[in-house]
Amino acid sequence: MSGLELNRITKRFGAVAAVDDVSLTVPQGTFVCLLGPSGCGKTTLLRMIAGLEDPTSGEISIDGEPLNDTPAHKRDFGMVFQSLALFPHLSVGENIAYPLRIRGRPSSEQASRVKELLELVHLPGIEKRAVTQLSGGQRQRVAIARALAVSPKLFLLDEPLSALDAKLREAMQVELRQLQQQLGITTIVVTHDQREAMSMSDQIVVMSEGRIQQMARPIDMYRNPANAFVADFLGQANLIDARADGPDALVPGGRIPGLSLACPGSRISVRPEDVVVTTAENGSIRARVGFIRDMGASIEIHLDGEGVRYVAIASPQARPDCRVGDTVGLSIPAEACVVFESGKG
């Protein structure tokens, strides 16, 4: 098959398994985000794909060709490092031309390719500039251009946008995604930022403690998290312990009508935007307003229902009429709930 294939990859550092029995298929031309908290093994996994780290066991292959014994410099992958790793002794043009120079391409070809790449990343004509003279966003683009110089089979990025400020980061996410679609290049990005993963990728792989928790399309993963960890990590989630009560589910502060649980005790996840704040009479759950965070574009309300915290997010159009300290009603539609087996996740 075409694309990258990881088969039961494990990487141990001493007794610790940084990556534990990971199997993953990345089809040709897709954009995949490895998402997880720091120390979950995502960077180690990326480094093994790049050839900078050897797996303790398992196989890596691309387009059916095994890669395990190919050293990093023969894999022809492009990688962007968290520190960007631009060479300080070379100019912008020389940095981008470096992989071409190493491969002994003629200098006329190098020059035209550098020009082409700088146009691709919207920085035409800065070949002669020193890398120390560039802004953070420009350095980012130069690092991307350099990694793409030899038209790699695989484009790897390790927390590429973490050094940028929030606004620039959002803009670069869109740009990176557009660039990837324009080139149709198989791309793997490591990030701990779920917004980044949601906005860029075809597939998200959530990792925790060296293992893959779930792999799915962003919106499917958001709507249908496989376990409480994924629900909590990808966006915000209300994780509530529920008990079966006939056709309904009992939750702290009230009930969710129509949510029938297979096990008597289960954990459920509800997205904050699915929690509707209403009057005490209309809601099926009673809770006290603890805190209101009005962000302008959305309003976040923290509520306390029998000692358990609920978070509701409302749009400004549906601004609920409540103040801190009020007792209100919450209504949660049964179809918005994801049920996990008790004790799991």
Binding site: H73, F87, P99, A147
Partner: protein, 284 residues
């Protein structure tokens, strides 16, 4: 903090202490030496104030010219060998665990604590025919019979390199350990073999450190006066040996001072040339 150009005399007070120390311990002694280099020697006595170029005139001969060139070449060679050995050593040292790094650095400091005399006699024994390393090579069959490697140019070079090596590593170490390892990794993912990455990234990035180390070791080796005497023949004596000879044994202070001034001027101009070349190279 904004830096303003000093306006009043009081603005200079932060540099008063360093200026005083530099003046007292470097400028004044050098001025005295410079003055003495123009004085006249009193036969059988010491020297008396005068203003004569005779000391410099005596120095301008083929013999001293050759000694000066030999001294500069030897110092440059010591620097070059130290860098050739020290750069890979330091590079691999920074790849070791913290504990191993501390061990090696302490061992190198141990070598620094040895006196030059001990280093000299230790090497003269090690390189001798009767008890030296050549006996070991005979024992394992690499040589037919033991050979004397001292006195000789190789022995002088070996001794000086041994003595300067710890300095080389200690000067290189901070820059090498601060070098971002992702630079090497980036160059590998971009298609460079580890060796190629070392030559196209590590060495160019650390160019300033390498040049600074070269100059420091060069000056250090230029001042050596004991090892050339212990390990070399008279033709391997450096200008520093002759200066010591004139100052201590011939009691010819004015001539010794003239040679010392000349050595300072020669090495300083060499350093300035290297620094200028470095700046020109960096401006490309």
């Amino acid at each position: 903090m904004r830096r303003m150009p000093p306006e009043r005399a009081a603005d200079y007070y932060p540099i008063a202490y360093p200026a005083l120390m530099l003046g007292l311990f470097f400028v004044v002694p050098f001025a005295i030496m410079l003055a003495i280099s123009f004085f006249q020697r009193v036969q059988g006595g010491f020297y008396e104030p005068a203003f004569t170029f005779a000391n410099y005139g005596r120095f301008l001969s083929v013999f001293f010219g050759e000694v000066l060139v030999f001294s500069l070449v030897l110092a440059a060679l010591v620097s070059a060998v130290c860098l050739l050995l020290g750069v890979p050593f330091t590079y691999f040292l920074t790849k070791l665990s913290r504990k191993a790094q501390v061990f090696w650095l302490v061992a190198l400091l141990g070598v620094l604590s040895l006196s030059e005399v001990i280093i000299g006699f230790a090497w003269s024994t090690l390189l001798s025919r009767t008890a030296g390393l050549s006996n070991l090579l005979v024992a394992i069959g690499f040589m037919d019979r033991p050979d004397a490697w001292t006195p000789g140019f190789g022995a002088v070079l070996t001794g000086l390199v041994y003595q300067a090596f710890p300095y080389t590593v200690l000067v290189l170490y901070p820059s090498f350990s601060r070098l971002d390892p992702s630079l090497m990794e980036a160059s590998r993912t971009l298609g460079a073999s580890p060796l190629k990455a070392f030559f196209t990234v590590v060495l160019p990035v650390l160019r300033k450190t390498l040049i600074a180390t070269f100059i420091i070791v060069f000056i250090f080796a230029l001042g050596a006066y004991l090892l050339p005497q212990i390990l070399g023949r008279p033709q391997h004596w450096t200008l520093s040996v002759l200066i010591t000879d004139q100052a201590v044994y011939q009691s010819n202070m004015p001539f010794a001072a003239a040679m010392a001034v000349f050595l300072v001027v020669a090495s300083l101009s060499l350093v300035l040339v290297v620094a200028a070349l470095n700046r020109k190279g960096a401006g490309q």
